[in-house]
């Protein structure tokens, strides 16, 4: 048997590649750096889109919350004014005895009804903390109405116990005893809460502006540094896509910053001017109605209304502060509201003087507008003029504040959308710019 043939396989040379040998992609190589730079640009552009949209949205929401809190504040003040106005009518009607004016009665019922509806409306939009106070105000309003009806029923029968019910009713509207709840205190607590909300949200709106600028300028600097590196590495004067991205980003930051600043500036101005003026006017009006009620109670208590006169002075003090008519020469004396209230103050001083000197009948007649003062002034007409002027002021300034706050929010939504689109565009341009250089290696 022949030996088995053995076959040997010669060693194979390594196959020849038709492709050039692959370059090692390390972070030290230019193409790798270009790829990383492109990725960084894209990531930063996306971060900018997300963060700046978040910031713009935060500012828009904060201004929107300022608007909501302002609306709640104005609604609460409207309720407070209606309630103290109703009380002023009830107190004056009591002074008129059986000669109750049907128009005044209708006005009283209308104010109570609208105040009740208003409480329901503001409660629907109130937070848990405010809800307890508003519930208390609603409960007290029910008690108040009951006491006024008791006072009225007794008064119409000639029973002096009616005056006690009227006093009780008035103390439910407002009293100086911190341990005894009253409607005005409850409402003012919620009003203070809404003012705090306005302040808080305004501060948030200011703070929210930082996100657009931080992320935007971070991207801008990154693009600028990247552009410089490209210039040094490739000795090209300009990378056009990245230069365009820088220009677009700069314009976006310019427009966005201006829009944001304008929005918050409008919000500041709406709060600091219109809302402040509406707030001052509403507080002055509410305090004046309280004072007017106390004037009637002073006369109901005939010659023994010292405590009520102290309460009148309390209200008067608030009105003079809000209207800036504390001292002769104060600016408020030049306003219609200031002049009208000062005329009423003069009439009130005469009413007290008449009552203190025992001329109660004349004091009542002057207070009810049935008799002119010694200087031919009509106390009721003077007060009504003040009420009309301040009421119009509060309404118009409140409406202006709401409109301006609403206007401040609108551009922010457009800006948010613009920022997202432009940020993605910038990312694309930056990627394109890096891609141009990268292609030179392929």
């Amino acid at each position: 048997m022949p030996p088995a043939a053995t076959t040997t396989t010669p060693p194979q040379p390594p196959p020849l590649s038709t492709q050039p040998p692959a370059r090692r992609l390390t972070f030290t190589s230019t193409p790798a750096r270009l790829s990383v730079l492109r990725a960084v640009f894209i990531v930063l552009a996306v971060v900018f889109a997300v963060v700046s949209a978040f910031g713009v949205n935060q500012r828009a929401k904060a201004i929107d919350h300022v608007s909501t809190a302002s609306a709640q504040l104005l609604a609460l003040q409207d309720i407070q004014v209606r309630i103290v106005h109703a009380d002023a009518i009830a107190s004056s009607s009591y002074l008129r005895s059986g000669q109750e004016d049907p128009a005044q009665r209708t006005a009283y019922l209308d104010e109570i009804s609208k105040a009740g509806d208003g409480l329901v409306a503001v409660s629907a939009a109130a937070g848990a903390g405010d809800l307890a106070q508003l519930s208390e105000a609603s409960r007290l309003l029910g008690s108040y109405v009951g006491l006024v009806e008791q006072a009225r029923a007794n008064n119409r029968q000639g029973f002096p116990v009616g005056a006690t019910y009227q006093r009780q009713a008035n103390s439910i509207i407002s009293n100086a005893d911190t341990d005894v709840p009253d409607i005005v205190s409850s409402l003012q607590t919620v009003e203070a809460s809404q003012r705090s909300q306005v302040n808080h949200n305004l501060a948030t709106a200011h703070r929210a502006g930082i996100w657009l600028h931080l992320s935007g300028w971070l991207l801008f600097i990154s693009l600028a540094v990247g552009s410089w590196w490209l210039w040094r590495t490739f000795r090209r004067i300009v990378n056009i896509p990245i230069a365009v991205a820088l220009l677009v980003l700069f314009l976006l930051l310019l427009i966005g910053g201006t829009t944001q600043a304008g929005a918050v500036s409008d919000a500041d101005s709406a709060v600091g001017n219109q809302l402040s003026a509406a707030d001052d006017a509403a507080q002055a009006r509410a305090a004046a109605f309280e004072a007017r009620s106390q004037e009637a109670l002073t006369l109901i208590n005939r010659g023994n209304g010292a405590a009520n006169e102290v309460n009148w002075q309390r209200g008067d003090d608030v009105v003079r502060t809000e209207l800036d008519i504390r001292e002769p020469g104060d600016a408020g004396f030049q306003t219609d509201a200031g002049r009208a209230y000062n005329n009423y103050r003069i009439a009130h001083a005469e009413i007290r003087d008449l009552d203190n000197k025992g001329n109660w009948d004349a004091a009542v007649a002057v207070s009810l507008g049935e008799q002119l003062t010694a200087s031919n002034a009509d106390a009721v007409a003077a007060f009504d003029e003040f009420d009309k002027t301040v009421g119009q002021l509060a309404t118009s300034e409140g409406a202006n504040a709401s409109a301006r706050l609403s206007d401040a929010v609108s551009p922010m939504h457009t800006l948010r959308n613009l920022v997202v689109v432009v940020a993605l565009l910038i990312g694309g341009l930056a990627a394109l710019g890096c891609g141009q250089r990268l292609r030179e290696y392929r």
Binding site: I210, H213, L254
Partner: protein
């Protein structure tokens, strides 16, 4: 209230970080200038009677000296002359004690037994139309003595007619006319409550209301013989506050003079005055402690009213059918008090 404003940095580039950190307009957290600080007046302790004083009849007043002088003939320095010169008799009255001193809301006038007594005094000072010279000051029970002590030149009054009981302690601070009405303390309860007198209220540990500053509440607080020891005493500023307290369920009853309670019961048909009088409450017109001449003058007026039928006419006008079926005799005058 003013809202604080800070300048706004609005330039876009300049606002890089500054915008985000700039201050904002601020609303105040609370309304300024609303509630003045409360103060508590320190009331000096009221003087109290000595045993010797208390032993004497407090109803003794200063005896009139001769017939009533005509308004034109008052001694120059007399209290009456000063009042006449002033042109106003400043009086302290109740505004809510129906039948004695209450504002009639239909007429917008204060009227009642006490008011008519004062009108007679005014006529004696100013003449037949003197009631138009009265300047009314409605005061609470607790304000009666302070108003007389202050006097008309210091915001007080010349005379008080306010269902005021004559007693020894009050004589130390003011002067009284002779007794013009004899009242007594009883109790007002809700009809159907089952209470027949103050003792049943006490046994039931009921809440009983009385005006602060009245002899009625003093009696409950003194609690002599522990007769009222179980009662929960509720003090209110005025007598009508007690009626309201009953109507609102805050009190089971109200104690007061039968005169006053009759006025309360007239305002609420669901209440009734029960039990016998458990005190005597002789009413006097209060005047300044040093105005002895005025007290003698007023005593002369009251003495004339007792005899010429004016007192009976006033009683008939206000109280017949409420406190009694017919006119009763006026209380006799008791004099003999020495001028200080």
């Amino acid at each position: 209230m003013r809202w604080h404003r800070r300048p706004l940095v609005s330039l876009a580039l300049g606002s890089l970080v500054v915008v985000a950190c700039s201050g904002s307009v601020r609303l105040p957290g609370a309304i300024e200038g609303e509630v003045p600080p409360t103060t508590t007046a320190i009331t000096p302790a009221a003087p109290t009677c000595t045993a010797a004083n208390a032993a004497l009849n407090p109803q003794r007043s200063y005896e009139p000296q001769g017939p009533l002088p005509s308004p034109e003939n008052f001694p120059i320095d007399s209290t009456m002359a000063k009042i006449r010169t002033r042109g106003k008799l400043i009086v302290g009255v109740s505004g809510d004690t129906l039948l004695f001193g209450a504002r009639n809301p239909l007429k917008n006038q204060i009227e009642g037994f006490d008011i008519d007594m004062l009108k007679e005094v005014a006529k004696a000072i100013f003449g037949p139309d003197g009631e138009s010279n009265i300047s009314y000051k409605v005061i609470t029970y607790a304000d009666r003595l302070p108003n007389l002590e202050a006097g008309p030149d210091n915001g007080g009054v010349d005379i008080v007619a306010h269902t005021m009981t004559i007693n020894c302690n009050r004589w130390l601070r003011i002067a009284f006319s002779s007794t013009y009405f004899d009242a007594g303390q009883r109790v007002l309860v809700k009809k159907g409550s089952g209470f027949k007198n103050i003792d049943e209220l006490n046994a039931d540990k009921a809440t009983v209301c009385a005006p602060e500053g009245s002899t009625n509440i003093d009696l409950l607080r003194r609690n002599e013989g522990n007769r009222f020891g179980q009662l929960v005493v509720l003090a209110k500023p005025d007598v009508t506050d007690c009626l309201v307290a009953m109507q609102q369920g805050e009190a089971d009853g109200a104690t007061g003079d039968d005169t006053v309670l009759a006025g309360l019961a007239a305002q609420d048909p669901n209440t009734e005055v029960v039990g016998d009088k458990f005190t005597d409450e002789p009413y006097g017109l209060g005047m300044g402690k040093d105005n002895v001449d005025f007290v003698r003058f007023v005593n002369t007026v009251i003495a004339d009213m007792r005899t010429d039928g004016r007192w009976s006419a006033i009683y008939s006008k206000w109280l017949v059918g409420v406190l009694s079926d017919t006119v009763i005799d006026p209380p006799p005058a008791i004099y003999g008090r020495e001028a200080p």
